[in-house]
Amino acid sequence: MSITVRFKFARKGPVRYLGHLDMLRYFQKAVMRSGIPAKYTEGFHPHQIMSFAYPLGVAMETEGDYMDLELTEEIPAEELSRALNDVMNEGIWICGAARLPEKALNAMASVAAADYEIHVDGTDTEKLRGILMTAVVNMMQEKILLLGKPQEEATSSADHRKKGGKKEKKAKDIRPGILSLTVDDQEPVIKMRLLSGSALNVRPADVFSLLAERVTEDTITASRIVRKEIYGERNGEYVPLLCLGADA
């Protein structure tokens, strides 16, 4: 019987500039320090059996990312969270943990959608909000939202042959992947829920750039993107990944 625990974590502040592999290394060391009874692989270079739901891009903040870890003994979830939080450093913390049911999918395979907030730079809050609202409304009325330029496609089909079967990126319609798109009612913050499955995976930065193209009166920039939550699907509903562990 394997014991897998799912941890929900957050990161904010300067540590957001870590890449995904560095986060992985960070967590491996943290688990080591915490004394949690992690399970190890056999061989000369034993390592923990750890996996992440969704790689965190450089600079992205999160309030709801997930990491699965195999253990050798059953330990109450709160104790595990506490043990890890005791050895964390600035800007990374555990927000919750849950034992996974025996046959649960791993975190990465469970990902179906995610919520994001994009904080638009600027001081004139009301003006910015107005601009954003207009752009959001216009954009959501469009039936097709193409990402990537069609001309590029033409030139890349030549490379395509040269590179021997390696598929070049085609312009794709991401409209079906935008489940919701709104503007916060106080701050110049864009909120969205995006599909993150294997069939269609939409990145918040792409949505932002499409939105920015539709803002004509100004150039807008955003230096903070926050992942708020990652969802899996259960009976046609989106449920936070931690819940998939808790009561399934």
Partner: protein, 625 residues
């Protein structure tokens, strides 16, 4: 304290444009935050190379940890920004900052630089330049940081002397407290920079270059180097830790987020080396050998693993095989590491039954290679350089290893050693061939895991101060390359040539390193010229330009050949003779003569050869043999 809102010196836009942005944002585990207004001394400790190299330096972790135990001192870290950020900082006028507070270095009390390797000299100027500090100590303002250098390159400070206010000769653990006390006293009393430096020069181990007058003879050699004042010492004596068990060791080292060159816990088992190989500077300047006890080492190991979460630990020292408690240490450490699921990365141990047994326990024989460093191919040359490793040692070691399942061997050699003949170069190829032969003789055909793989590499020899070869001429570029191609040809002539791969290092870097190693104050102008012409990160082969450096010497009228290509006279005064590192010049001269006569000298464990370090009254010099 909540660090997550810690301010950053670089904007989001800039961080997104540079490689590995988190090398500039600090905040790593075990990094130390203090309140700037609650300390009296702010120290910026700089490793003038990129973060991944600098964060692998144990010496910096030691000094960082030690200084931060002082309540009145805050030590922070600084590294060379990589070229992408360097360009942005110049364009946007962003001053160089320390990682912890992200404050500009210019506002600090001290800027310390560790000088590990000569090819970082251009980076020293980059650091000063980006920090907005004048290159020349004499041009600095009253409240600029005191720029202080330390590390192995201080055993010839002269080519970079003008760029530093002071150097610290020896091990940082010893004198820092006294230096800070003096600094605080001077600051309180409003004593000037100049007078502080003059007082500091009276602390043992501290050298203030501006307080010495230097004169040269007509032939370009040094005539005299004398203190300007009576209270300044003629010779600066190296300071060192006498009791390694009692000295500070960083049990909470800073753990980088990004992968550093050494991504593991480091246990320094001893300092110094008992073997006086005649080409080796480290062997002399870290003398005498001082061990840490197994108990102390185990205590440090457990604490470090607990405090860092590293998954690997390695033993570090110049010659770990010589530690008298190695057997016990490895036994205990392997036990502890198995319990914690931690890998042990072994340094290159001398190959014998014991080390093979240990390696067998901790690594995958099939994947790992054995390392030998005979440094020279022939026994005659090994006698010249006093390398106490015989052909039998190597072949016996290889036999044992091949029986144990290894089939990869790495060998390190040097070309251009003093008194080297063609047959010595050929002997390198022959030795490789012998090893291959041993493999085919010991391992029956059906048990072979393919061909034996022998990788030989050679670097070119650079004579260094405080070695027996400080008098020796260096080979020219043509000689180096001739020898390398002779070696290559000889390898091709061997019966087992298909099992042997041979590489040689870049020769251009070697020549420049040679000039810095034994140059004098006149070299500084060329360093400045080359830096202004774009020299930076010269330790990185693809960044290094030989032509630029040669042009720099020519433009600045530096007779660089005079530093490297001539044999130096026995009574010549050297630019580094003002340093007393314990090893006497007469002893080194005697070693130089013995090298010529191909006579070896015993190592410190077998028999003291009276080098002079016994005056420190510690370590092996006072141990009963």
């Amino acid at each position: 304290m909540d660090f997550s809102e810690r301010k950053l010196a670089l904007s989001h836009e800039i961080l997104m444009q540079v490689e590995k942005p988190s090398q500039y944002t600090g905040g790593e585990l075990n990094s130390v935050m203090k309140k700037a207004d609650q300390v009296k001394v702010r120290f910026a400790m700089c490793f003038p190379d990129i973060y991944e190299i600098g964060m692998s330096h144990l010496g910096m972790q030691i000094l960082y940890g030690l200084m931060n135990t002082y309540e009145d001192v805050w030590c922070e870290r600084v590294f060379s920004p990589w070229k992408d950020l360097d360009a942005i900082m110049r364009r946007d006028h962003i001053p160089l900052f320390a990682l912890e507070s992200q404050d500009p270095v210019k506002g600090f009390d001290f800027l310390g630089m560790t000088l590990q390797y000569e090819m970082c000299y251009a980076n020293i100027l980059q650091v000063l330049d980006l920090a907005g500090i004048a290159f020349h100590a004499e041009d600095r303002e009253e409240d600029d940081p005191i720029v202080i250098g330390g590390g192995p390159c201080v055993y010839n400070t002269e080519p970079i002397a003008e760029f530093f206010d002071m150097f610290y000769i020896g091990e940082g653990e010893v004198m820092y407290r006294r230096l800070f006390d003096l600094y605080e006293e001077c600051k309180e009393k409003g004593i000037s920079r100049h007078d502080f430096l003059r007082r500091a020069a009276q602390i043992e181990g501290i050298y203030v270059p501006s307080l010495y007058d230097v004169e040269y003879k007509e032939d370009g050699t040094l005539k005299s180097m004398l203190p300007k004042y009576d209270d300044i010492p003629v010779k600066v004596r190296k300071v060192l830790v006498q009791d390694m068990d009692g000295s500070f060791y960083p049990e909470k080292p800073v753990v980088p987020f990004i992968r550093a060159a050494q991504d593991r816990a480091v246990l320094e088992v001893q300092r110094g080396c008992i073997r006086g190989c005649r080409f080796c500077q480290a062997g002399q300047i870290y003398k005498p050998v001082r061990e840490r006890s197994v108990d102390t080492l185990m205590k440090h190991a457990e604490a470090i693993l607990q405090n860092t979460g590293y998954e690997e630990i390695s033993l570090s020292s110049l010659s770990t095989s010589d530690h008298s408690g190695l057997k016990q240490l490895l036994e205990e450490l392997i036990g502890e590491c198995n319990r914690r699921k931690i890998n042990i990365s072994l340094p290159s141990l001398r190959i014998d039954a014991f080390s093979l047994d240990v390696m067998n326990k901790v690594q995958d024989v099939k994947k790992n290679s054995l390392t030998f460093a005979p440094e020279a191919g022939s026994q005659r040359m090994r006698n010249v350089i006093n390398k106490g490793l015989t052909q039998d040692d190597i072949l016996n070691g290889a036999t044992l290893a091949f029986k144990g399942g290894w089939n990869k061997v790495k060998l390190y050699f040097m070309l251009g050693l003093p008194f080297e003949q063609e047959e010595d170069v050929r002997a390198i190829a022959e030795l490789c061939n012998e090893i291959a032969k041993v493999y085919y003789e010991t391992v029956p055909k059906d048990q072979r895991n393919g061909r034996v793989q022998i990788t030989a590499s050679s670097s070119f020899f650079v004579p260094k101060p405080f070695t027996a070869f400080q008098w020796a001429p260096m080979d020219t570029m043509e000689h180096f390359l001739d020898k390398a191609s002779l070696c290559k040809r000889s390898v091709r002539e061997q019966l087992n040539q298909k099992s042997i791969t041979y590489h040689y290092h870049e020769a251009g870097t070697t020549i420049i390193e040679g000039i810095f190693a034994r140059g004098d104050r006149r070299v500084a102008a060329a360093i400045e010229w080359a830096y202004r012409d774009g020299a930076l990160f010269d330790a990185w082969t693809e960044q290094f330009s030989y032509e630029r450096w040669i042009k720099a010497f020519e433009e600045c009228g530096v007779d660089y050949e005079n530093y490297i290509f001539r044999e130096r006279g026995e009574d010549e005064l050297f630019p580094w003779d003002y340093v007393d590192c314990g090893v006497r010049k007469e002893w080194l001269l005697n070693e130089w003569r013995r090298a010529r006569a191909e006579v070896t000298t015993s190592n410190c464990r077998d028999k003291c050869s009276g080098c002079g370090c016994a005056s420190y009254q510690c370590g092996i010099c006072v141990k009963k043999r």
